[in-house]
Structures are given as structure tokens and as C-alpha cells.
Amino acid sequence: MAAPTSSSAGVPFSAIERRLACYLRALWGRPATLRDAGRRARVSIVAGAICMPNIFPAGAGEGIALHRAAAAHAAAHLVHSMHRFPLAKLRPIQVAIVSLIEDARIERLAWQDLPGLRRLWLRFHVALPDAIPNATSLMARLARALIDPDYRDHDGWVAKGRELFEAHGARLHDPSMSREIGALLGNDLGQMRMQFDYGRYLVEPAYRDDNAFLWEFPENKSAPPPESEPAVLAGTVTLETAGAIGGDRADQSPDRARREISPPQAVPAMEVPEAPPHRYPEWDYVIGVHRPAWCTVRERRAESGDPRAIDEILTRHEEVAARVARLVRSAQVGHAARLRRQVEGNDLDLDAAITAMADLRAGRTPSSRVYQRPGRIRRDLAVLWLLDLSRSTNDVVPGAGETILALARAATAVVAEAIATADDSFALHGFDSSGREDVGYYRFKDFDEPYAEGARARLAAMTGQRSTRMGAALRHAGHLLSQRRTARKLIVLVTDGAPHDIDVHDRWYLALDAKRAVDEQRRAGIATFCVSLDPGADAYVTRIFGAGNYLVLDHLRRLPEKLALVYLRWAAA
């Protein structure tokens, strides 16, 4: 049975990482962390992550099957090797053999549930009974004897190992059996005066990991070995050293290498024209009039960060991102509609035709719009996402371990990614304030700009500082939006609290000004929707935005999905 894509050259791990991850998740129902370990001879398991060689050394086996076997073996370890063995006074050869028995134990447990795994692993067991009997070959033969019942070996030691293992068949769930059998067999091998050079020992077959993680090393009893630490088990040779001597240490995946070539440059921020500051009136509810030209909005250049941060966010929220993308996609294709009561079309609109006939008979003039045809309702919508960047967004969300700003950023990234493909134009802007003379306004992505590297970089760098003068920011956003030539215009405001600013102490003053701004925009044909992350927001958001025009999130984790929902409600309307 050939693997789907096998070649003697071997497929680099980076090319098949995702399919291996899916494979492991399907088999064991839990996420597996796979890492590219670059040039290594064997897999190692470090802090729960499976570090795979990018390419197994030549001759080790073919292509993806070997990677798959290795991944399955390591995952079986993660599931079944619960405890670490203390190194105690074991000799290197005993350590190697205990590891070998443990490998056989976890493999057997795994293939009891998943029978095909045995076939997958078996093909790599190629040890033959007529090999020169040294420690390494005997161990490879024992490994084969334990997985392959058809394998015949005349060697007494191999036969003893097989017998001992089968005798403990009822204790497969007990790791101490590996320790007992391994110590015993290791002792025997020692007495046979077998040479064992653990400095050169490589676990065989190649799909098995270096087993370093099975052992509790005296110097790091408590902490798991850090990733950088080379495999220390009895001299497991890693190619890393060899590579370092050759000066071509290639422990980078091609993907990563490509990114290295183009370091995160300072992506030039969007050209913000050196326009004079914008002045906007502000509503004073106490005296019941607008204070003219009261607030000054200053557009500031948004800093650029590392766009890769956004990629990481998307990877971390993979599941949500996929769901949101699906939502947006389905909303788009779902926009075909049957256009009724048309002047022409390829079908009679039955209801219209009947009304027309009834009209005829009643002696009235019938309408000529009696046809229907399949069509598409084009939506014509411009959305401006306005993010509150006040200092309070730096608070950590209880239970989420992330700041409000980080969550808002993640949500925005997920949604922007999904709707970037939609034909609607959208912009991502943010604001903060420090008194009425200084309302800061930042454009992370503007309407006519593609959602690309530059926009992502700016999104990655956004920070929370200062206060929330909502009304002025809304008026400016409305001003920018009013220049769009779409039928419908929408501002989605994402905020974490009530409006406030350093120079205002009346808690209703800014809220009522914001309400006024929302009302003015509604009259100008711009809808405003508020997504509030403040659990106590009900007290004021209804007042500012009006019933049905806001959403108070009870559970911040759902922010991306909810933001997409807001967008879709509008897009589909």
C-alpha cells in the first residue's frame, strides 16, 4: 500500500505539517502541537510539542509515510506515556532498552484501538535475524519482534524479550512494566559483553523519537527541558551539531526562511495629509445648544508594527476565523433572489398575474409587472469600524488572559480578513482623546486601500491610551463616511465603556453629546451601531444609540463572531 505522495527524496515536514496535525487530531481527538525541528535525525518531544525533523536523513524511509508514522508514534507517547522514569542508577544500555520496551508498550496500546497503525509502523521494521549480533542490531530485532508476530528470530535474548513482554500483556497500561523488563534485558545484554556506544546510538526504526522526554534527568527534575536543549538521552546524535559545523544550520522551515528574507520593515504609514485639524461642535445638554467648533480632531499617523502578529492571531483563532469566513461567504452566495413583479422575466409571477387577471375582470387597469426572474440583490454598503483606543482597553479581561484591546484587535483582524474579499468597502479607524482640543484619530485601513500588509501592520501596532470623547470621533467618522458614494453607510463603534474625558466631570454630558451625534448622523443617512464590551453598558447605550442599535457582549471571547454578525445583519438587510 503506497502512501499517496511518496518519493525517495522525502517530503519536507513544512509541506505536510497541516495534514499531519489533522491526522493526529482525527485519531486522538485532541490538538497536537507539531514543530519544525530543522535538521535532526529523530523526532523529539519537548514540553508536549512534537518536534519533527524537516527531512529525515536519506535512506531512512520514504516521504510522508515516515513523517506520519513518526507523528503517530509521538502522539501515542503523549497519550500513553504519562510518567517519566527516574534515571536512578540505570546504565545507558538499560535506559535505551527501557525506552524500547516503552515504545513497544505504547504502540501496542495505540494499535489496539487503531489497528491500521500497526501496519503503518511495521513497514519500517526491517531488522533481519541474520544481522551481525551487536547491541544495536539486537535491539532493532527485539523492536521488530515485539510488533511483528510473524517475525522469527533464533537469538535467545530477543526471544526472552518477546516472552517477557507477552507475559506482561495484561499490564499494558502500567508503564512500570517497561522499566522492569528493560532493566532486566539491559542487564543481560551487559553480561553478554555487548559493546554499546551510546554516543552514536540512534533509535531504530527512524520513526521512533529519541525518547528523551521519557526520562527525568537529575538536573532538571522539576522543569521540563527547554526547547533549545539538545536531546540528552544517552548521546542521541542530532544532526544539529553536524550542521552547525558545516555552517548551514537550516532549522528554519522554508516558509519561515522566506519571511526572514523580508524583515518587518517600517511599512510606510498611510499618507495622512497635513490637513488642518478638524473642528466639530459639541452638544451641551445643560444649555441645550451646540457649542460651535468646540472639539478639535487631529488625525495622527498610525504606527506600524509587525504584520506577522496578525497572522499569529489568525492562527490562534483558526476555528473562529474559519467560522466567520464561512458566515461571510454564505451570506454572499445566499444573495441570489427571485425578483418578483418585474416588467419582463422568464416566468410568470403567479401572484402578480392573478391580481392582474382579477383587476382585468373587475374592469380595472392591470399592472404590467407580472413576471419574475432570478436575480441578485446588490448590496451597496460602506462600513467604518471605529475602535475605541482609550487607556481602559489595556485592562485584562478576567478569564481570557488578554487585554480588551488585544481581543478587539483579534476580532477586528478576523472580521477584516473575512470581509476583505467582500465587495463592500470598509475602513478601520480608531480614536482616543485628551480634552476637547485633542481628539486623536487614526486610520488603520482606509476605504480605498486594500487590506494588505500595511493595514495589518498598523492594526498590529495599535495601543490604548488616553480617553474616550465619543461624539467628536463619531462626527469625524461620519464626515469621512459621508464622502462615500454608497446607498447605505454604517459606523460600527467598538468600545469598552461610557464616553469620558479628562476635562468633563458631568457623567451625562459626553454621553448625551454622543447621542446627539448619533441622531445627527442618522438624519444624514449614516447608521451607527455600537458593540460595547462594558457589562454595565445597558445603563447608557440604549440612551445613546437607541434600542436595537447596540450589542452588549456578555462574553468577550465571542467578539469576532458577534462583529461578523453585526456586519452580516447589515450586509444582508
Binding site: C22, R25, G334, L568
Partner: protein, 269 residues
């Protein structure tokens, strides 16, 4: 000669195969006794439609099934005026038929219908039990045997396509999931005719593939798909090919996922 009963053709004459996995049969029977509208929730292919057929047979009531789609209008449900030689004639829609003559009316995938369509169900699904035919100017009192059942797949139904709270709260709900392993094996054996051992392997593949839901697959592999795979095998198709055709191909075009599923299948065959 007596006139055929207007909904006689909707009677289910032979017992449909249904393998209960919990107390759903008793619950449904009790709900029918008080004519409570029911909502069947669960992923596609887990047996919702089969369950309704079974219950309709069991209760001896005709079953009128309506597959909902987003282009469906209220008149597709309640009926419309048609033209004939002498003028207009009213034609009852399937819902009206069920209401008049006392059938179980099953609206499959209700969320596919637009929300303004589903509100015609409201007066039927509460204590009033009546259906106003606005265009005809008639108020149809529901037959005492009439019951409304809807199905609803909470999985892939997006949040934009959801039922209104006012609709949801008129129904009792039965949750359907994938049957437990033994029940699912029994179902696959019965429906496809493969051996229990083979059915067991198919179910294992299904179970493992369901781990990928949300991680590459939008939905888990359904019991129906496992039955399809089993039927192909029973027809003499080689198991790997049958699984690829019935289990992998339909659900994804993503090469990585296909490869992972392929490897899962090989783990059991």
C-alpha cells in the same frame, strides 16, 4: 365509490426502521398527546427525518413533509389562488392540508426559510391552533390530530439564519446527536447489510473523522454517510474505494484534510 381521503397518500404504510437512542420515542409520544409543536435539533444525517417518519407510522398519522428553502413564501405553505376556466380557484398549500385534515406537518430545515415566512406558523403553534388564510378570508381551525414538527440544524446554520425567539419559544425541543457507538453499528448493519465487524470499522472512521469538525470539516461525517459507504461495500466495492467515495469526497476538497481522512480510513481498513 367512496372518495379517497384527501391526505390518504401521506399515510406511512410500512414501519420505517428507527433505532431509538434514548427516551425520544416516549417524549415525542407524550408531546403528541398534548399536540405540542416539536423542534428536532441535530446535525444533518443523524436521523431526524427518519424519526419523524417512524413516529408518524407509530401514531398512525399521515405525514406531510415540506423541505424549506430560502425562496419559500408564505403562499407556498398555505396555498394560493389559481386560475381556471371559470375564474380563480383556491388551492390549499401543504400546511393548510395538514391543518384541515389532521396530519403531522414536518418542516425540514426550517431556518432555510425566511423569518417572515415562518411567522405564519405562530398562530398554529400556540394555544390558538388556527391558520388564517388571509387571501381567501378563511380561518382554518386545526384538526384535533394536527401537529407541527420542525427540524433545525444548529451546526452549520449561521447566526444570521436563526429562528426568531418568538418562533423558538413555541416549540418543545428534542436534541439529536450521533448515536452511541453500538447503536450506530446496529444502524449501519441494518441499513447497508454489511457485517457488524465492517460496520464497526466504518463507525470508527466516522468517530475519528468527527474529531475534525471545526478543524477543517464543517460538519462531522453523518450516520447516513456511513450507511452509504456500507451499502457500497455490500455491493462488492473495495472498502477503501467505498470510503473515499462515500465519506471523503463529499465533505471536503481540501487536500490536507482529504489526506488525513484517507490515513484515518487506512487505520481501520
Amino acid at each position: 365509490m367512496s372518495q379517497p381521503h384527501p391526505i390518504g397518500q401521506y399515510l406511512i404504510r410500512t414501519e420505517p426502521y428507527y433505532r431509538p437512542t434514548g427516551d425520544e420515542v416516549e417524549l415525542y409520544r407524550a408531546a403528541y398527546m398534548v399536540r405540542m409543536p416539536m423542534m428536532l435539533k441535530g446535525p444533518t444525517g443523524c436521523g431526524k427525518t427518519r424519526f419523524v417518519e417512524y413516529m408518524a407510522w407509530h401514531l398512525g398519522r399521515p405525514l406531510i413533509t415540506i423541505a424549506c428553502h430560502e425562496d419559500m413564501t408564505a403562499s407556498d405553505l398555505v396555498g394560493r389562488h389559481l386560475l381556471d376556466a371559470s375564474g380563480t380557484r383556491w388551492q390549499d398549500g401543504p400546511l393548510t392540508l395538514a391543518v384541515r385534515f389532521g396530519a403531522i406537518c414536518y418542516l425540514d430545515e426550517i431556518v432555510e426559510a425566511r423569518q417572515d415566512t415562518t411567522v405564519v406558523l405562530h398562530p398554529l403553534a400556540d394555544a390558538r391552533r388556527m391558520l388564517p388564510l388571509e387571501k381567501k378570508g378563511e380561518l382554518v381551525e386545526a384538526h384535533s390530530d394536527f401537529q407541527l414538527v420542525i427540524s433545525y440544524n444548529p451546526g452549520y446554520q449561521s447566526i444570521i439564519k436563526d429562528l426568531k425567539q418568538s418562533t423558538k419559544q413555541r416549540f418543545g425541543a428534542l436534541d439529536f446527536g450521533w448515536p452511541p457507538r453500538d447503536a450506530e453499528i446496529e444502524i449501519v448493519v441494518h441499513e447497508s447489510g454489511v457485517t457488524p465487524d465492517l460496520a464497526g470499522r466504518l463507525v470508527s472512521v466516522g468517530e475519528r473523522a468527527r474529531n475534525l469538525k471545526g478543524h477543517g470539516l464543517d460538519e462531522g461525517l453523518s450516520t447516513r454517510m456511513l450507511v452509504y459507504a456500507g451499502s457500497l461495500i455490500a455491493q462488492g466495492v473495495e472498502p477503501l474505494a467505498a470510503c473515499r467515495a462515500a465519506l471523503v469526497g463529499p465533505v471536503t476538497d481540501d487536500l490536507d484534510i482529504r489526506d488525513a481522512l484517507d490515513a484515518v480510513i487506512k487505520t481501520f481498513f
